[in-house]
């Protein structure tokens, strides 16, 4: 029996009529007919690129190269130690490629819509590329067409678009940020690309901002070494400031339409930070460690090699923080928990306080805020509840003065997904364990050289 793979992420257009989701290496588009909760499949795109063999070839080639290098070195070089005595040169070890390499997943991640909703950007792990897909709502067969695929030397971790909509900014696993002109043919010679800025640490998120008073543009980047860096844009070589305060890696940044000076960040420590990124001031530091305790499970225990004798070290991290266009709230979730936490921002003193916790039927995987509709899209690890709980919609209900799950909308999309996709090989798996990596954030925690 096959089951539909959990949805790894989702975004929706400003008017909410199109929902894009990633399932395995497939991007799906659903159309929600206005005024009803009738869904239809509007398009799909599958990343068919399989690099397994390519990588194997590369590994063998590198091994041959190293062996040849060793042979050449042994034949020509005679080294001397500092006091002039000849020494026997030890031959550098050449690793033999094993069979135990972890499987390569052609994950698609970081769905991002262009500001005008005519393009969809994504990152493909398979060849470390940025994908540009055109959204053509007039095409009734398939609204998604791949128009560009730009590979990079290192894996993209996050993307953003520039104010003028002409470029995509990408930050990678190696710590570099690159700029890509959207309407330009893909470039080769990827190893010669010049980064616009870099950190000596994995980059985790990026954001393009403008100071409304001075009109100056900035690029804000976060990394695995607690750093949030604010640089001028396009003169990225001029660093404006750092936002200091985090005690562990930063995994997610979020800004606000209703106040462009505000920025929220979170990651591997116990705090949600609210910043005025223009003045560089930390406005508030919200400690969420206590409220999350009831929702932590065995899934949040540290990996075995970092465990203690009583096996009770927990390691958790905020996966994603989002804001609303018109409402003074932020929503976030801690990886591998069922809790959606909503904090209220007090506009008088910029303090954060707990507003509401919504417990979902399964662990959250992704969170997206449709800023025009002020609606949250949540995808869930629904392997246990099969055939339901793929996507949940959450919105603010002014009458009840709280956020509520739109159960009917969720149910109708669940039903549609099950009916439409259960025989689609691209999105199904044969067993619950045959799943793409859904929890990647807590792994960013550093354990120091004692373990390395």
């Amino acid at each position: 029996m096959s089951i539909i793979h959990p949805f790894q992420s989702s975004v929706s257009t400003n008017d909410g009529t199109l929902v894009f989701t990633v399932v395995k290496n497939t991007i799906l588009a659903f159309r929600c007919n206005p005024g009803s909760w009738n869904y239809s499949l509007a398009g799909s795109w599958v990343d068919t690129l399989d690099r397994t063999n390519l990588i194997k070839e590369k590994v063998i080639k590198e091994q041959q190269r190293q062996l040849a290098e060793n042979a050449a070195a042994a034949a020509t070089k005679k080294s001397k130690s500092t006091d002039g005595e000849p020494v026997v040169r030890s031959v550098a070890k050449v690793p033999t490629p094993g069979t135990g390499a972890p499987p390569i997943y052609s994950i698609v991640r970081n769905l991002l819509l262009s500001r005008d909703n005519k393009m969809l950007f994504a990152c493909a792990d398979s060849d470390k590329s940025i994908l540009v897909l055109k959204i053509d709502t007039n095409n009734k067969e398939n609204c998604l067409t791949l128009v560009k695929r730009q590979p990079y030397p290192k894996r993209p971790n996050a993307i953003a678009t520039t104010e003028d909509n002409e470029k995509v900014i990408m930050v990678d696993k190696f710590g570099d940020a690159f700029e890509m002109i959207i309407n330009e043919e893909p470039k080769d010679k990827i190893n010669e690309f010049e980064p616009i800025l870099g950190h000596v640490s994995m980059l985790t998120d990026v954001m393009m901002k403008k100071d409304p008073e001075s009109g100056k543009q900035f690029i804000i980047t976060s990394d695995r070494d607690e750093h949030i860096k604010v640089s001028h844009y396009p003169q990225c070589f001029i660093i404006d400031k750092w936002l200091f305060g985090h005690e562990e890696f930063v995994s997610t940044l979020c800004d606000f339409l209703w106040d462009p000076r505000l920025l929220v960040s979170a990651g591997g420590d116990n705090y949600i930070f609210l910043w005025d990124w223009i003045s560089g001031k930390s406005l508030f530091k919200f400690d969420y460690s206590e409220l999350i305790q009831p929702y932590l499970t065995d899934a949040n225990l540290a990996p075995a090699r970092f465990q203690n004798e009583t096996n009770d070290i927990v390691e958790y991290a905020v996966s994603k923080v989002v804001s609303f266009a018109n409402l003074p709230y932020i929503a976030f979730f801690v990886e591998a928990t069922k809790a959606l936490v909503i904090l209220k921002i007090n506009k008088d003193d910029y303090s954060l306080s707990l507003f509401q916790i919504i417990e979902l039927p399964c662990n959250l995987i992704s969170l997206f805020a449709n800023t025009t509709q002020d609606e949250l899209l949540i995808t869930l690890d629904n392997r246990e509840s099969s055939e339901k709980d793929f996507i949940k919609f959450v919105a603010f209900n002014p009458e009840q003065n709280k956020f509520v799950i739109n159960e009917d909308k969720g149910k109708s999309i669940d039903k549609f997904i099950t009916d439409k996709l259960k025989n689609n090989e691209n999105v199904t798996i044969s067993s619950k364990d045959d799943v793409y990596p859904l929890y990647n954030i807590a792994n960013l925690k550093k354990h120091g050289e004692a373990f390395s």
Binding site: F174, H199, V200, K216, D225, Q235, F237, I238, F244, G448
Partner: protein, 233 residues
């Protein structure tokens, strides 16, 4: 060991931000006991200070500056610490060597945790690890992206980056990257000739002495941190 991987997650101690740094621990002589504040700031940094030769020679020349050596290798740092303690003890009467110290740190990652914008007058990169292999070039201490961070901690219009190496290839690499960076401008030979730090750098460090013994070449290049250009809007 001779090398340390600048990308690995060392268990390093660093302040959360420059204002969290307790400099009095390293320079107790410069703490004003009545206010609890430091009277002077670190203005000279020797990145990858090795055995500390440069710090020791710079110390008497810049009595108003606090000079910090940063070194990533634990044992080397411990050695320099001991060396400075001994020097301070032997020069108690004239309070010598109170303005230098060393700390173990990864300058490539955490420099901005220690120094505020424009705090430094001089930064030294003496005989850095050449990282010969092409794919290790990002590990070099001078790269285009890191230069922006050095420019941030250097004083606009005044700060100077000093580089010296016996590896010509690395020298050309550093010059190329510094020249290409919009915030640095090379200082000419005349300037080098008249600058006392250049002379000290040429002769003070242990690496420099080793090269001298082997009659190897020493390549020097110095760059000024120029003022920021006008911001494009």
């Amino acid at each position: 060991r001779a090398h340390s991987n600048p990308f690995s997650d060392h268990q390093l101690e660093y302040p959360k931000s420059p204002s969290d740094m307790d400099w009095s621990r390293l320079y107790p002589y410069y703490k004003d006991e009545s206010t609890g504040k430091m009277t002077n700031k670190v203005t000279i940094a020797d990145i990858g200070c090795g055995f500390g030769g440069l710090l020791i020679d710079l110390s008497p020349k810049f009595p108003q500056d606090l000079i910090l050596g940063m070194e990533i290798r634990v044992q080397v740092t411990n050695y320099v610490e001991d060396r400075i303690i001994a020097l301070r003890n032997n020069n108690v009467t004239k309070q010598g060597y109170q303005n230098i110290n060393v700390l173990r740190g990864n300058a490539m990652k955490f420099l901005p945790n220690f120094f505020e914008k424009g705090q430094l007058n001089k930064m030294f990169f003496c005989f850095p690890d050449p990282h010969f292999k092409q794919r290790k070039h990002k590990a070099r201490i001078v790269t285009t992206t890191l230069l922006s961070e050095y420019a941030y901690v250097l004083k606009e219009g005044e700060g100077v980056v000093y580089t010296i190496t016996d590896v010509e290839d690395l020298h050309l690499w550093m010059v190329k990257h510094l020249e290409a960076h919009p915030l640095f401008e090379r200082l000419d030979e005349e300037w080098e000739k008249n600058d006392e730090c250049v002379q000290i750098m040429r002769n003070a460090t242990e690496e420099g002495k080793k090269v001298e013994r082997k009659k190897g070449a020493k390549y020097i290049a110095c760059f000024r941190r120029i003022s920021n250009p006008e911001i494009i809007i």
